[in-house]
Amino acid sequence: MTLRLPLFEYRTPTSLAEAVAILSDSDGGAVIAGGGTDLFPKMKRRQTTPTTVVSLSAIPELSGIEIDSEGNCRLGASTPVAAVAASELVPAVVAAAAAEIASPQIRNTATLGGNLCLDTRCNYIDMPELWREASGHCLKDGGDTCWVAPRGDRCWAISSTDLAPVVIALNGTLRLVGPRGERETPAEALYRNDGIDYHDRSDDEILTQVMLPPFGGRATYRKLRRRGSIDFPLVGVAAAAHLDDRGTVGSIRLVVGAVASAPLRATAAEEFLVGRQLTDEVIEEAARLASHHVRPQDNTDTGSRYRKWMTPVFVTRALQDLRA
């Protein structure tokens, strides 16, 4: 069966102002495409049928990676994931996480901004139109029932971005441009734990830049997926910490991805870890604190109990990485 894209108009504005104007004039009918690797499959499955697709590829200032005079790493949102993975300017953990996204071919097309703005995913929405119609449309699909938790009133689609947990762990800032001008937000504040309304970003706002402050500590990203390639994360744990000479944690940011509709800061575990050395006992307690509130649903490759079980395991591995 050929899944063809629905008809749309493809626009390639050459300036941010032009792109914002197209988006805000479209009454929600226009969507942004970074590389299109997340958007086009959803359009082929008729999960979304925009009248206009706005490519950001021809806007020069959105591409590239540089270190500014204050030592911040600034990444343009249209930078291909492959370029992030190959960059020596970005923190090593960012390059490593980028290299674990999807497949080599997709990394050549997909963009940093596209991964950070990835739509939430779920077994009940990422299906062809016929299937969704036969089963009944879910909440995210305009229906009135969530097939993951039918008695609830929210959508449980999963935040599946690999880079958001890492950017949040590194205390990154995002720059967005919209019709009301430019704003900066901590990366953490962009995400909402709601499968439908998963971004604090209006339809006519464009993510333009990621700013990572200088980081001299240790950081890691641990990703669970069924295969070693192609797959989205089932659990993703990012950790960034400063340790003193004796291995005592001075500060740490710990983020668990892919177990909810947003990346989750594990603040209780962070508070517990500060002032402690990363002994096996401390890591075990931190892993418990980071995961006991986590409630993965049964809506991706593996069952929810497996993801729940694996969450402390991957937090443990991430914290062990920091110790090594």
Binding site: M1, T2, L3, R4, L5, P6, L7, F8, E9, Y10, G35, G36, T37, F40, P41, K44, R45, V53, S55, S57, A82, A102, S103, P104, Q105, I106, N108, T109, G228, S229, I230
Partner: protein, 158 residues
């Protein structure tokens, strides 16, 4: 939703085609240009059967719009053979029997070619990483990896 005339360079030849904006590079290659060597697999970026080179880098033709190609050059499996002589990667795949049903083979060869162009003497791990976006459902990966090693060893010879 009008159509527009696109000029895309495929295998060294410019082609003018009339296309609506929604058509993928895969559709244009197979349906307009008759280049059916590039296979149509999952259509949603999960299998790698439609891999082609865009400016030498492997991409999925099912997730690239024809009009996104712009002035970049496209190389398909048909474009690897020079003057009727198969590419060394193609020869090595044939000799090693690195194909069972053959459906993944063009994509495998495209990814292998891109790897060897940037890394003439890859390790097995590097080959596995480079081919990690190409699924073989017959699971005949060993011979594929052997074929890439064989092609690399021949190309390395002066």
């Amino acid at each position: 939703m009008s159509e527009r005339v696109l000029t895309i360079e495929v295998n060294g030849e410019p082609h003018r085609i009339l296309s609506s904006d929604n058509r993928t590079l895969l559709e244009v290659l197979r349906e307009d240009l008759g280049l059916t060597g590039t296979k149509h697999g999952c259509d949603v970026g999960e299998c790698g059967a439609c891999s082609v080179l865009m400016d030498g880098q492997p991409v999925l033709a099912c997730l690239v719009l024809a009009l996104q190609v712009g002035d970049r050059t496209v190389t398909t499996i048909e474009g690897l053979a020079a003057d009727g002589n198969p590419d060394p990667v193609q020869k090595a795949f044939a000799e090693r029997g690195a194909a069972q049903c053959g459906y993944c083979t063009p994509g495998m060869i495209i990814s292998s070619r891109a790897l060897l162009d940037g890394n003439p003497d890859p390790s097995t791990e590097e080959i596995n990483t480079a081919l990690a976006g190409n699924l073989c459902r017959c699971t005949g990966y060993n011979k594929i990896v052997e074929a890439v090693h064989l092609a690399a060893s021949r190309e390395a010879r002066p």
